[in-house]
């Protein structure tokens, strides 16, 4: 077990504190701090990160039950295990102690190995719990990275598409001028300027594409952003493959401001739109449409993204947000795109994401994702 564990002893009788310290100091991994009043204890808990609190009950003016209540109602201290250590040994007090959220209740006088064992139980429990929390956080970070790499792979395909058109314009125009010069053909001056302009515009377009992609992969700080911009950026990033695949995007967007990592929301939208795109591309139908609607309702931004790609099979529907669930066996599905999207919406935007099959206006079936993002006052 790494590091020392901080234990706080709260007792108005210094002899009791001394006794407990003498017993517990045998364990070299404990760092013991004490206070003689509840009021002082409530200050100390914010100075250190405590792994356990030993709490006396009969104290003036604030008793141990009161201290426990306050600690359990504060999000910063509510996870610290509390053991009551007290001479009050009636059944009512013991029940009350546990009811208030204490993990154990030791009555005085106690045996040395009794105190040692019970303290060890709860210190160990806290250490294991913390390490498990760290592990879950690490897994989440890994998954985020994995999703980003997968997105990067798809992005490279998008970049290739986006660059084809402007590169071909630049090549055609410049080689045209060169050929004309070489054979001594007279060139109309306004035509020449027009040609150079079109090279310039296309080069600028290429440069802007690079900026867009660079932004997407760079981890930034939380910013105030507009949902309309996020959707525009999303579409810019994948526009050329959408057009290549004959998919039309329809938008009806109310602009709403948000605070957070706009890149993460872009990732969510790309994951959803790419899924629709994958299916639509394989279909032979004439109209391939992805609809994006944003409106405000009950202090939430409602984002609906739907397609007319036939919908999701009933047996698959309950699993689509599970990690490592994918139907794209042959292609590059990682099975974490929608899982990550759900995590981002829930954990980072405190929102919800739902999916259902719908009937479209054109008589086709499709799928509709509804993302609800609570609007906070910033």
């Amino acid at each position: 077990m790494l590091g020392k564990q901080n234990i706080l002893i709260i007792d108005d009788d210094i002899h009791n504190i001394q006794l407990a310290i003498n017993i517990l100091k045998e364990n070299k991994s404990y760092n013991i701090i004490f206070t003689t009043s509840g009021e002082e204890a409530l200050k100390r808990v914010h100075e250190y990160k405590f792994d356990l609190i030993l709490l006396d009950i009969i104290m003036e003016p604030m008793d141990g039950f009161e201290v426990c209540k306050i600690l359990k109602s504060d999000s910063f201290t509510c996870d610290i295990p509390i053991i009551f250590l007290t001479a009050k040994d009636d059944e009512q007090s013991i029940s009350k102690g546990f009811d208030l959220g204490a993990v154990d209740y030791i009555t005085k006088p106690f045996f040395i190995n009794e105190l040692v064992a019970r303290v060890k139980t709860h210190v160990n429990m806290k250490v294991y719990e913390d390490s498990l929390k760290d592990k879950i956080e690490l897994q989440y970070q890994l998954m985020l990275e994995q999703n980003k790499m997968a997105a990067m792979g798809e992005m490279i395909g998008n970049i290739a598409h986006q660059w084809k058109q402007p590169l071909s314009v630049i090549t055609t125009v410049s080689s045209g001028i060169k050929a004309a010069k070489e054979v001594g053909m007279p060139i109309d001056e306004t035509k020449e300027i027009e040609s150079l302009d079109s090279i310039l515009i296309n080069a600028q377009h290429l440069s802007k594409t690079i900026d867009d992609f660079k932004d997407f992969f760079k981890q930034k700080d939380r910013i105030l952003f507009k949902i309309k911009d996020v959707i525009e950026k999303t579409i810019n990033l994948i526009d050329s493959t959408l057009r290549h695949n004959g998919i039309k995007i329809k938008k009806n967007i109310k602009d709403i401001e948000f605070m957070g990592l706009d890149n993460e929301l872009i990732q969510v939208f790309i994951n959803i739109i790419n899924n629709s795109q994958d299916i639509l591309t394989k279909l032979n139908q004439k109209s391939k449409i992805i609809n994006i609607i944003v409106y405000e309702e009950n202090n939430e931004a409602i984002v609906k993204i739907s397609d007319n790609a036939g919908g999701i099979k009933d047996e698959i529907m309950p699993h689509i947000f599970e990690a490592y669930f994918t139907t794209k066996q042959s292609s590059n599905g990682t099975g974490i795109g929608l899982h990550m999207s759900k995590k981002i919406v829930e954990d980072h935007f405190k929102g919800t994401i739902e999916v259902k099959n719908i009937a479209c206006n054109d008589g086709l079936k499709g799928v509709e994702f509804t993302i609800k993002l609570p609007i906070f006052q910033y």
Binding site: S95, V103, F111, T121, H122, M125, V127, Y128, S131
Partner: protein
């Protein structure tokens, strides 16, 4: 995490087993019982027991002896044991921790105390298993 945990109650008096089972009935554990140490060994061999509630005062093998035997067997030494004993046997408390018991609860039970202690040691065992497995990887 969804798997069901098993609690074994060892007490020679059926009434006491009944009382403990009643208190724990809403906690979602599978409950087994034995009326002697010998019977407990058999059950532990055949089942995956996650926690043992062990009465101290029993004819033939008493609780401490049962605990010592379980502690010596590598198949059972990691199962947490909570001793159960009457109120006026305070010297038992010291002995309980000496022989390797995880905790000690006095009879008659205070319901929430028994429930919390059972939950604590079952969770601790689970977390420890995960922690140890992680360290090995």
């Amino acid at each position: 995490m969804a798997e069901i945990q098993t609690v074994l109650i060892v007490d020679d008096i059926p009434m006491n087993i009944q009382v403990a089972m009643n208190i724990l009935k809403n906690e979602g554990y599978k409950m087994l019982f034995a009326q002697s140490g010998q019977k407990a060994f058999e059950i532990i061999k055949e089942n995956n027991v996650d926690l043992i509630l062990l009465d101290v005062m029993m004819p033939e093998l008493n609780g401490f002896e049962v605990c010592e035997i379980l502690q010596k067997d590598k198949n059972s030494k990691d199962i947490p044991i909570i001793f159960l004993s009457g109120k006026d046997s305070s010297s038992d408390i010291e002995k309980a921790y000496e022989v390797g018991g995880a905790d000690y609860v006095v009879k008659p039970f205070i319901n929430i105390e028994l429930i919390k202690k059972v939950n604590t040691h079952i969770t601790l065992k689970k977390l420890k298993d995960i922690y140890v497995k992680d360290k090995e990887c």
